[in-house]
Amino acid sequence: MNVIRSNSFQLDWIAVIIFTTLVIFGYFNILSASTSGEFTSYLDITKPYGKQLMFMIGSLILITVILTVDAKFYERFASILYLGSIFSLIGLFVFGKQINGATSWYDFGGLTLQPSEFAKFATALALAKYISDLQTNIKERRDQIRAGILVGLPAILILLQNDAGSTIVFGSLFFVFYREGIPQYYLLFGVFLTILGISTLKFSAIATNSVIAVLLLFYQFFIKRKKKKFRGTIAILLCSICLSFGVEWAYTKVLQKHQQDRIGLWLRLEKDPEKLQAMKRNISYNLNESEKAIRSGGTFGKGFMDGTRTKGKFVPEQHTDYIFSTVGEEWGFFGSSMVVILFVLLILRIVYLAEQHKSQFSRVYGYGVASILFAHFLINIGMVMGLIPTIGIPLPFFSYGGSGLWAFTILVFIFLKLDSNRLNVW
């Protein structure tokens, strides 16, 4: 196949337009959420909106660099980028700066960087490189474990810095493994564990396992063909009992108090409505305020810069993790649905483009990008609207923060660079 130079810049414009729209709309929401009283200049870098503008310019530079660099570079240097990010994560234990209880930042004289954000694309690249290696067969257990360690290492380092939210994001790379052919039972096990876990916490381990036992007995005697073989059924039951108590143990012993409270509140473990209200006000104060702000937006919203709850700073951390509540309040149902739809379209577009690739590296990386974006989208917006327990991770392109914006820009544009190059021979 011919090498066509001009293809280097054949970007997928749909993805680029959605990306740009989200970033710019995000900026305006940060502007609204962080303006307080004396507005001086859009470039006022003592204010989040001023900084975000700088970060956006930084992104633009990054995009230019990413698109200029040869596509092959990313595959070749995936391991080095990965190692670099691992070292930067380890370095945090020595040089890290603590903000909000998590030791996740380097402080370069005012500019703080969060290596965990960058670790996401590095891990996605490394995973793509490992899986696409001719010697790797992800269907084999040995390679599954190796790939698992590849993902698990940064995830655990981040967890140790007390940033559980970002760790969960790495879990989303399961979609990559699944797409590349790991056995079905991983998925089944995942679904089973989720249902079992929720049921255990909500109703207790004994009740859950009693129901499972009854279901298994029913299966054994009425559906299963080989009715006399009990071993499999008993193994499942024992396994579920162990898991169930494991979940209970983890919930009470491993999780920190605030994590327990968040999950407890989400599952409505407290029955007394008055106590529940009190919990809502105290434990999930942010969520309560953010839901109120979104609700008050109504169908069409109160208009840009006119959100009364946004202006009054009723929602803490509104310009970072809770930025979506500003969208909800000021732009209403239509505005926030638009944002949801744009995210869905962007992620689907990336999945679609990834599927088109002949190169396994690009495909795996594309899947990784989509999975990471999806995890952030699901967790952040789900949290802000009270659909899932509170987990503090940013909304891509929207939330205030240089590391986040740059890391997501790099994440997406490396893929778009790979994508623009897909017709080329490697």
């Binding site: 797409r179 009054g312 739809i341 999806f374």
Partner: protein, 621 residues
Amino acid sequence: MRKILLFGMVILTGVSFIARLFYLQIYESADYDLNNDNAIRKVFHYPKRGYIYDRNDSLLVANQPSYDVMVIPREVEPLDTLMFCDLLKIDRLKFLKYYKRAKRYSPRLPSVFLPHLSKEDYAFLSENLRKFKGFYIQKRSVRDYQTSIGANVLGYIAEANAKDIKKDSYYKLGDLIGKQGVEISYEKTLRGIKGVKYIQKDIYNRDIGAYKDGAFDTLPVPGKDLKITIDSELQAYGELLMQNKIGGIVAIEPSSGEILSLVSAPSYNPNLLVGRERSKNYTTLYLDSIHRPLIDKGLVRMHEPGSPFKVLVALTALQEKVIKTNTNLFCSGQYVYGKNKRTMQCHCGGGYRNLDSAISYSCNSYFAMAFRNTIEKYDNSSQSMDIWSDHIKSFGLGAFLGNDLSVGKKGNIPDGSYYDKWYPEFKWGATTIISNAIGQGEILVTPIQLANMTAAIANKGFYFTPHIMKAIENEEIIPDFKIPKQTSIDPKYYEPIIEGMYNVYNKGTASFLKVPGIEICGKTGTAENFTKVDGVRQQLTDHSIFIAFAPKENPKIAVAVLVENGRYGARWAGRVASLMIEKYIKGEVSLKRMEQLVIEKSLENEYLKPYSGKPFKINDQ
């Protein structure tokens, strides 16, 4: 399957997010209401309340600043309590009590520490205020009465209660609202419209600027000044005459229906209901169950009209052509009627009576005859009674007058069905209800209705709805008050009646009340009355009632006077009426002896009798 898992999950998530947004923002959320947003503080700016002037443009009610000491407990720093208490003229215990009350309400929000500081206290305190962190002074506007009369007419304002606030969302806790008199009936005119500023708050309840740069803010609209029909000099004089008596005077200008004075006795100084002693004073007034100073007796005291009502009985009989002006009757000192030869006493002195002398000497027998003839005109007494009742009601009796006063009573004028209900089996007739002929029986009126009736007679057949409002900021309004209401009596029948009323003064029951130089037409009245003390019905000394208008030609004033338990019409009510008429028409009073007699007379003993717990005599003084 492997290719669509992520795809499907993304779409599923998107759909559930939009569903959740729909639930939160459309299904669950009411329309956004600026007034219910707790991120917005509303600050009200109260307009000036309208002044009240009398008909001669003398200022009766103005405004004065009132200073409330406010406190924000959280900002209070240790202070010299002794000095502070001295300045405010309170003791330490009270200081602690007020402070705790404020703290309980909210440590962060301002609340009233001590209301209604006097001007002097304010001056001393404001000099030293910087020493007391957390305290500040808030200025409010309260009423400033330039007069001590007319409390019942002017009314008062007070903080809106829960009921007021529920009825009209304009009012917020702490707002002032008219509670009586003109203040209530012209509340909306006087109060104006308060302005509102929407201020954006932050999470700590601090103000962070105007909401939308004040796009929704409004400016206060000042209340309009009111000119009322009251002649304050006449009003003051009426209150002076009525001192130590219970009752009311209503004086109306017949040619316009304007109320010249509306005296309710005993009254109170309106200044009592302003300032720090307000609630104490109010309670005292409210609890005085003998004198009921807060009740406007001219408007709501229902009583039997007594003899003044005979004038209407006569007019009705003339209109129905059942008597003529020259109809004669021999009065034997009693009127005998019915099968059982029942009698009605008459105090006219006896002899031949025609219409004129029947009025002047208030002959019971004559009007019993006139009434009987009216009711027996048709075979069906119920039908005749309806006709009679309609005539009487055309004088504004038995129904609300539809005036611009906040209180009133309908009174009672019975009609045919009224007695049909009373006597479902028995065939009632004129003699059954003969007491009505002399203004007793089932007739009930209020003093203002009597005055209005007098005005209608003075006008020979029409009246204007009595009203208190003359002009709002010099712009005359309420056209309904300018339309004459016709009575159903032909004007020609008024001549002999007025002549009779003139003779009441000239030679009849009020001949000793003559005012030199003024031709007064009047009618005395005495009404039996009862009260219940501890559940026992007891008769009290008769009410003294009088109606009059003057001059006979082109009448300028029509007046009705009720002096409760004044024994007989000419005795107190008549004197008061004559003095009021002279005062209004001449501007000064020549009947000095009569004036002195009235002013000095106290009926207090009479009022205390039923509460003494001992047996008492009536009509003895």
